[in-house]
Each structure stands twice: as C-alpha cells, then as structure tokens.
C-alpha cells in the first residue's frame, strides 16, 4: 500500500494484541450514522510515474517567461546550494523544535537568522518568522497597539504608498479588534508621502506605517516621518525590503531614534517566486518590546555541562502557553523559508547582498530610462528609487499587458485597479537577473505592440 508498510501478518498480530477482530472495529466509537460512504469525486490513486508526468506537463504549460513584475515578489538568482541544503531531510522533515536537544540544527540556524535580520534592520531582536510580509504587517499593527500603552485610539496611519494588498491583509486581520487603518495620501509628483502634508496635530495616533522603498519603488523621507511620529506619541512600523537594506539606511537608524517595529517579506532572500508562496514574514523590534512580539524566538543558553545550546524561549508570549492572552495565534510559521534565507545570506554575505541590491537598482534605472525613451510611455514619478518604478502608457494598460504576455513577457503589474488616478500605469521591476538584452527585448516588443494597437484603434484581441 502506498506509504503504508504493514503486511497482512502485521495487521493480524497487531489486532490480536489489541484484542480486536478487524481494523473496522477500532472505529466502533464513531456513531454509525456519521460514517461516510466514500469519496466519490476523488480520483483513483496514481503512481509516482503518472503524477510526475502530469505535473511536468502542467509546469511546462506555464513555461518560463521574461518577468518584469515585482510588486512584492522578486525574481532573484538563488544559489543552487540554498535549496539543495534546505531540502535535506533533516531540515525539511523536522517539526518545530520543541525538543531542543534533538533540534540543535534548526535552532542554531534560527539563532543565526535572528542575528542576521537584527543586523540587517538595525534593530535589537528578531523573531523566527511569520507567514508573509502582509500578515507580518498585520501582526506589527497588533503589536503596536499592545506596545503603545499611552495610545488609546487604535488608530494606525497607513500611507497609500504601502502595498495595497498588505493594507488589505492587515485590515482583514486587525479590523475585528476595532483597529482603524487611516489612509495617508501621497504626492502625485513624487510618489511618496509629502512630510509637509502631515498634520501638526494629528490627535492620538498609535502608530505610523512607513514603507521603504514604498510600493512604487520610491524612497520615502523616512527620517522626517519617523521623527514626526515619535513627536506625536506614535510608534513607527517600518515595512522594508530586506535586499534593499544592503544599501539603504536600516530602520533602526531612521530619524533620531529609529523605527520601533520592522517587518516585511523575506522572499527576496532565497525564496523562489513560486506563485506567491511560501515566502516568510520577518519582524524585528527594540528589545523593550520583545515580550509583545508574536512568533517563535530562539535564545542561546547552556546545557547541564555548561555548553552552549539553543532553545525556544519567551514562550509565555505564545498561544500554547498563554492561550487567549497570547501575542498572536501563530503556531506553524515559515521555518523552511528562513532556513533558505539564512543560507542565502551566508552565501552572499554583506558584500554580495550589496552587489545584488546595486545591480537591481542599476537595472531598473536602465529599464526605466529605456521605457521612458519609448514613444507612448512616460516615467511617472521624479524620486530616488530602489528597484521598482511606475510608468504610464498612452494605450489601455490591460491591452498592452495582454499583448506582451502572449509574447511571454510579463511587463509589470497594472496599477489600474488600485490607483485609478494614475491612469494607464504599471509598476515595473528589473532585478539583477535581467540583462541589457532582456530590456531590449521588452522595449522592442512594446514598440511593436504599440504600433499595432495604435493602428488598430484598440481595444483589440491580439492573435494567439
């Protein structure tokens, strides 16, 4: 039987030991009327050969494309060693390290991860992961409400330059608790929050969220924003891209006293695009707030012989101890992705990560320039950026994107739904994986498409 090692003899011996006549007898306590008849819509079992064939066909169907989309998921080079090591059975098939002595591999790795993230963000401590960037932001909001004891408003200032889906997720998760995510608008020229537009007397604000780079790829005035928030008794929640931190000021150094909570998505650190997950959310904070953190935290301690070892710690924050008073309901997190990220950061080092960040920046600048030079395409904001930018088409964005996709090019992510005021705009991204030839392929296709669409007086269905 697939995955079941029992022989008929085993079954007999085991039933004898139990004193039962059949396996069926072991289900005697289930009321008969509840027993189900079968699983009609579930197909017969197949073998590994057949499912392999099916999955290969399906994977091939969604074949490789030339991808200039970012918007929260970035195509980076991942060293082969990362996943060869990460999928070693000992990492891949272990549980959460509840028995510390039998899990020193995972635990030491997580301690190393926490150290790396704390240093990258410039914060004191890191937890061992949350689900993803968006849910990490939700947890950060909940944490800020707990941590900012002086504020009673549960009001979180949320710039529209924060990833729209992060804002949606945060709202899904926090709104039941009466927390309000108050929108802050952005400057149409710059694509960032204009610090001058911030009110002098904002009232009781629990926290201000600051994205850096923001959803448009643009760099916010983080120092001013941080100081403004702190001046008004609000905590600062930073939402950052971890790769960008190789070259950008870490949130721990923003303004006079730094951000209070830092979160984001760890995907750029070694997680493949993989349709959007599994990625992982990271969270760091000041030491003073550590008891308000959600998620696992690993601490170094000693064993009976005084030897160093690692263990889950501060568990009194967690659901399995504190139950309804826990800092979060999270239990299973995204450990394996953290394993990959730790190996990724170890293979790249600070120098390597810096080169990745610089190459992403340079390639996006090149792409932006190339597009800006293309007829019918305009660069939208005039602002320093990391590795994303917004461009606007003269033509309907959906048609352009569809036509590009038929040629295997994902030209970017349309902003039409989330920022209708920006017209036919898309968010573009060129990471270190993109060559000059790739950029040329993109702009050349775009020119052809523009010509065709203009000639045809769109909308038009490109021929498949």
């Amino acid at each position: 039987m697939p995955f079941i090692p029992h022989t008929d003899d085993d079954v007999k011996t085991m039933l004898d030991a139990i004193g039962a006549n059949s396996i069926e007898d072991l289900f005697a306590e289930i009321p008969a009327e509840l027993r189900s008849e079968g699983l009609d819509s579930i197909p017969d079992g197949v073998n590994e050969m057949d499912i392999s064939r099916l999955m290969r066909e399906r994977a091939d169907q969604d074949s490789r494309s030339l991808c200039f989309a970012g918007a929260g998921a970035y195509e980076h080079h991942i060293p082969a060693a990362v996943w060869e090591l990460t999928t070693r059975g000992e990492f891949y098939t272990a549980y959460t390290p509840y028995q510390a002595e039998a899990s020193q591999g995972t635990l030491q790795l997580l301690y190393e991860y926490q150290s790396m993230m704390a240093s990258l963000t410039g914060m004191d401590v890191s937890n061992a992961s949350l689900y993803d960037g968006a849910s990490a932001l939700a947890e950060a909001v909940l944490m800020a409400v707990r941590a900012n004891r002086k504020s009673k408003s549960k009001r979180i200032l949320t710039p529209r330059t924060v990833h729209p889906d992060y804002r949606r997720v945060a709202n899904t998760i926090v709104h039941n608790q009466g927390i309000v995510l108050d929108e802050l608008d952005f400057d149409r020229q710059q694509g960032v929050i204009d610090p001058a537009s911030l009110p002098d007397d904002p009232g009781d604000v629990t926290a201000l969220i600051i994205p850096q780079p923001n959803y448009f790829g643009a760099l916010e005035d983080v120092d001013v924003l941080t100081d403004w928030a702190h001046a008004h008794g609000a905590l600062v929640i930073a939402v950052v891209n971890p790769v960008s931190l190789a070259i950008l000021t870490p949130p721990g150094e923003w303004g006079d006293s730094g951000a209070d909570i830092v979160c984001g998505d760890g995907q750029p650190l070694g997680a493949p695009l993989s349709s959007g997950g599994p990625y992982f959310g990271f969270m760091c904070c000041r030491k003073a707030f550590v008891r308000q953190m959600p998620g696992r935290i690993i601490g170094r301690t000693t064993d009976l012989d005084g030897k160093s070892g690692y263990t889950l710690t501060l568990q009194a924050r967690e659901q399995h101890i504190r139950r309804s008073k826990a800092t979060s309901n999270i239990c299973t997190n995204q450990g394996l992705l953290v394993t990959a990220a730790t190996i990724y950061m170890s293979l790249l080092g600070a120098q390597g990560l810096e080169r990745v960040a610089l190459a992403c920046h340079a390639n996006t600048m090149k792409l932006l320039a190339a597009l800006d030079e293309t007829d019918g395409v305009t660069k939208l904001f005039d602002r320093p950026l990391f590795h994303e930018a917004v461009v606007q088409f003269d033509l309907p964005v959906a048609d352009v994107m569809r036509a590009l996709s038929v040629q295997g090019i994902i030209g970017g992510v349309s902003l039409a739904d989330d920022y209708p005021e920006l017209g036919n705009s898309i968010l573009i991204c060129a990471t270190e994986t993109k060559t000059d030839a790739d950029i040329e392929t993109y702009t050349a296709s775009l020119k052809r498409i523009a010509m065709r669409l203009t000639a045809n007086r769109c909308p038009v269905q490109p021929k498949m």
């Binding site: 579930i42 039941n176 309804s324 299973t332 569809r402 994902i410």
Partner: protein, 483 residues
Amino acid sequence: MLIFEQSKSQRANPSQAPLQEAGIDSIPAQFRRRRRPLLPEVSEMQAVRHFTRLSQKNFSIDTHFYPLGSCTMKYNPRASNTLAMLPGFLQRHPHSPDNLSQGFMACMFDLQEILKDVTGMTAVSLAPMAGAQGEFAGIAMIRAYHDAREDTARTEILAPDAAHGTNPATATMCNYKVKEIPTDAQGDVDIDALKAAVGPQTAGIMLTNPSTLGVFERRIKDIAEIVHSAGGLLYYDGANLNAILGKVKPGDMGFDVIHMNLHKTFSTPHGGGGPGAGPVGVSPRLEPFLPVPLVVKNDDEYSWLKEKDRPQTIGRLSTFMGNAGVLLRAYVYARLLGREGMHRVADFATLNANYMLARLRKAGFEAAFPERLATHEFIITLKRQAKELGVNTMDFAKRLLDYGFHAPTTYFPLLVAECLLIEPTETEAKEDIDAFIEAMIKIQHEAESDPEKVKSAPHSLPVRRLDDVKAAKDMDLRWTVSE
C-alpha cells in the same frame, strides 16, 4: 560554532554576486546605509559544510520515528517536493497572467475539489497559510456571518478545556471572549456544562474531533444540535483529520466550517516549523465569506475570484494566494493516495495507535482514558512514575531521545497530568513501533533502578539538557560582534 565565527571581513563569494559594476549615485546619501550589516563572510564551501553539519544535529522524519502527538509526523513523499519544485512552478510570478498560469491553476482547482470531498463541505479556500490562520479565517467568517445577519450580540466562542492553544488565541484575535467547556471523565465534552454555557451570546464553538485527548467525541451530533439551536456555528479544527480521513466527514457531523492542516494530513513537510497550509472549507451559509482568492473553472479555463468578485469575503490573508508551493505538494500527495489511499490513512493510523496503546498498557503504563479506543493518537499519563519515582514526563521524553526516538508531545493537553500524547501515524512499521515500546519499557526499568540517569537525560545528543530558565532570563537572542 556559529557561522559568524567563521566569517572574515575580506572573504567574498564572487560567483554568487552579480559581476556587473553598478553605482549608487542616483540614490542620495541621506537614504544610504553607512555601515554594512553583520552578515557572515564565508566561502561557499564553508557555508555548505556549516549547514550540512547543522542539519545532522536534527531529528526528523527522514531519520527518526517522531510520534509527536497532534502533529501527524508521517512520511513526506519526496516526489511531492521534486514536483512542486519543477522550474515551471518555481518561476511563476504571482502576477503571471492567467494565460501563462493554466497548469498551476488546474492543480489548485483540483485540490479545492478534493478537499471539498474529504471534508464534506461545499466550498474551499486555499488561502490560509497554516492551521492557525485557517482558524482565524473560520472564526472571522463566523463573525462576518453573524454581522451580515445583524446578529451582533454574539460575543463568545466556546472551546473545550482540552483545546489547542491556537483556538482561544484565534477567538481573541477575532475579538471574541473564550469560554472553556469542561471535559468529562471519558474525555468527551461535558454536555451539561455545554448546555449551561450556550446562549444568545454564543457565536460558535471550536472543536477538534477526534479531540486532542486522542478520543472520538461521540456526542458530536448532540453538540451540534445544542450549539446550532442557540444560533451558534460549529468550527472544526482539522488538525486531527488524519484519524477520520474517508471515515467521517466533518460536514456530516454538523460543522459549518473547517480548517485542514495540509502539513499534517496531507503530508507536506513541517520544515522545522513551517510552512504549512490551512485551507478552509465551509457549508453553504458561510460560502460568501470565504477568504480570497479562489480558483474557478469555466469551459476548461481557470480564473481567479478576488475581492471584487466576492463582495462579502472576509478578505485577503496573504499578499498573494497563500503557500502555493505547499499546496502543490499536498496535491501530489492526494493524487498518489487517491480514494482508496485516503481510506487507508485512517485505518492504519488508528491501528498503529491502538496497538501501541494496548502494548504499553500491557507493559504497565497507564492510559488517560482506559475505557476508550485510541484514535490516531492516545495519551499515557506518567503521574504514578512522577510521584513514586520522581521521574516525570519530561524525563521520559528526554531519555527517549537517547534511544533514538523523538519524544511524543509532552504536557499537552494540560488537562491530563504528566501526559504523553503519542501519535505514531500510518507510515510507521510495526518493527519501529515495537522498538519504541521496548525503549519505553527500558526507561521504566531505568526509572526504577537508576532514576538519575533518566532525570539527567539526554546523554548522547549534541547537547545535554538545556536550561530554559536561563534562556528566558538572559535573552541572548542574537550574536553580536563583541563576543
């Protein structure tokens, strides 16, 4: 040795970094980092060696019997990993247009259908990223349901006292108060207490069945009846679904919403803590509230339903669509099992558990619920050993490690003193189960003849017993250069 201790500042791995020379002039100095972060600077080989060696310090399914109760540590087929990591799947950007995504979407659609059938629910969302997030989605849907009906006085969620910690924690996240319902001596919910507890303030109840006590909740129909008539809904915590796969469907028991832990029942790896996936299934009345996105099929074409297509949705739970790679693994596993295979899961998980229980009892260990059949797991209480020999559950657990077995779950549920919650799963062979039982018997002898040996275990692992109190006190949570 920490990876940082192997680091040297000039070391670099140029084969992993872009070769391109790229300036930073277009970013004004005010935005720029001044000091490099403390990431290790090691050679590729040093990293490979370090993490390979670290991995060897772990117990895992691939190396050890791991009968961790409530966690369903079964074999994770390697094919699930290989196939989920096919380049076509790994490289798919979450914003890939539908015309470049039909292969992936077909898998997701098929998986939704399979999960509907095994749960007996009418619709499934794959969005939640783990069991606890599935719980959140479920309770948020219950709240949305009551809200939609303007039934706003419901402020309480009921849960048995044996419930997993995520249940009450989730209720809190959804702004419910939690009322605990006691368990009777047989491990069933105390029906009278339940009756007393329900009322117009009851939003719903969260139940696992089989419960975390390793027994099947026999009066589930009565419970459903009681809660439903009070206007509350029933939430099924699917962590123990392995016990009843193909035998009973939660939908048939009267549940309105369920989450599944695909990283348990559908054998996606636990990865040393995650990722998992916690899809939710619902009965018709909760369907409008399902978290987005969902995959639908029209004329052999798959497409996504998002916020704008689902006005009543509780919303989005992740930036994209949840843990897609985990879902692919679960799909491969489900197809490998097929219909018959699913039935067998419950059969053999239950056989293994009852066999272990029978043999352990024969060897003198005390069952928490001696009159009950085991489900896929069961509880042994070591309170006699703790009292008479001073050797407690934790000591037994640590000593098991020396014998090459991962320990069962300890001290959960809290309700049973000195408890060991043991779940062998269906993929373990009788020989390994027998070996575990022999180890338990040996430890029992040691506890009688040489208790210190057990109390100071483990003796053969990379570290001896660790000082958790010191860990919490020192809060040494990161390496810093000063060391």
